[in-house]
């Protein structure tokens, strides 16, 4: 360290650097790197924000604590979704499609795709899953998967129990959309 640097340090010590403050953290306006003075160009806060999308409940003829037991259980079932914010039809069905892809092989996902599109078409007519809306995805044997909005059935039943099981796997499959949500739907 040469004399000039010492002098600079003294000056810097005497006049505390102006500083930006972000969320209680002070960030100096200037710093030195490899003997070059650098000026603070901007300071920001990376913030994590949690927002609630929906509340979901799973109804079964008999309570079950394992995904296998739920998927194999005969009789009607209901996935009850209560929207806590507005979600566009596109975002809603894209999230369902992502959840199905995550839990199925490519070949399985391909076989399910036409029926995912049937569900997307029903959603598209709604345009939006609005805050406060109650959306039910029912398995009503032998008819199929029925979507209800605020208690009223929409569109035609979607055929095949494999499709309903695929829907269930979005939330209780090997790669659930949210781990603690899966745990809760299995009865905690």
């Amino acid at each position: 360290m040469n004399a000039r640097t010492w002098l600079l340090m003294l000056v810097l010590a005497a006049f505390p650097a102006a500083a930006a403050e972000v969320a209680g953290v002070k960030i100096d306006d200037k710093t030195r790197v490899a003997n070059a003075e650098l000026a603070l160009n901007g300071a920001g806060l990376r913030k994590r924000v949690f927002f609630q999308v929906y509340a979901i409940g799973l109804y079964l003829p008999q309570k079950s604590s394992t995904p296998a037991a739920i998927l194999e259980q005969p009789g009607p079932k209901r996935i009850a979704i209560h929207m806590l914010r507005d979600v566009s039809a596109d975002d809603f069905t894209a999230a369902l499609a992502d959840g199905i892809r995550a839990n199925h092989s490519e070949a399985e996902a391909r076989a399910l795709e036409p029926r995912v599109k049937e569900l997307a078409a029903i959603m598209a007519e709604l345009k939006e899953a609005k805050k406060g809306m109650a959306i039910a995805l029912d398995w009503q044997p032998p008819g199929g998967t029925v979507m209800l909005v605020n208690g009223a059935a929409r569109g035609k039943p979607i055929q095949g129990e494999d499709f309903y099981r695929a829907l269930l796997r979005i939330w209780i499959g090997d790669k659930p959309v949210q781990d603690d949500l899966k745990k809760a739907l299995l009865g905690g």
Binding site: A39, R46, L181
Partner: protein
């Protein structure tokens, strides 16, 4: 019957959403197996932070495209 009337319907409540413990679908009674909130996380960067040399010999953009 009287006993049932006297007891309020059991239900789960989460963020103002109430789901009954028992419902009927297709004429069959179903039991609520579990209830949970779906939450999403977003990361917000309000301002980019960067320290730039004022007298940099190599001027130009911070990132080359």
């Amino acid at each position: 019957m009287l006993l049932l009337l006297a007891l309020p319907v059991q239900a789960a409540e989460l963020e103002g959403v109430t789901l009954e413990d028992r419902i009927r679908v297709d004429g069959q009674e179903l039991l609520l197996n579990g209830i949970k909130l779906r939450t999403r996380v977003i990361f917000k960067v309000y301002v980019a932070g960067a320290l730039l040399g004022q007298n940099a010999e190599h001027g130009g953009p911070l990132y080359e495209r």
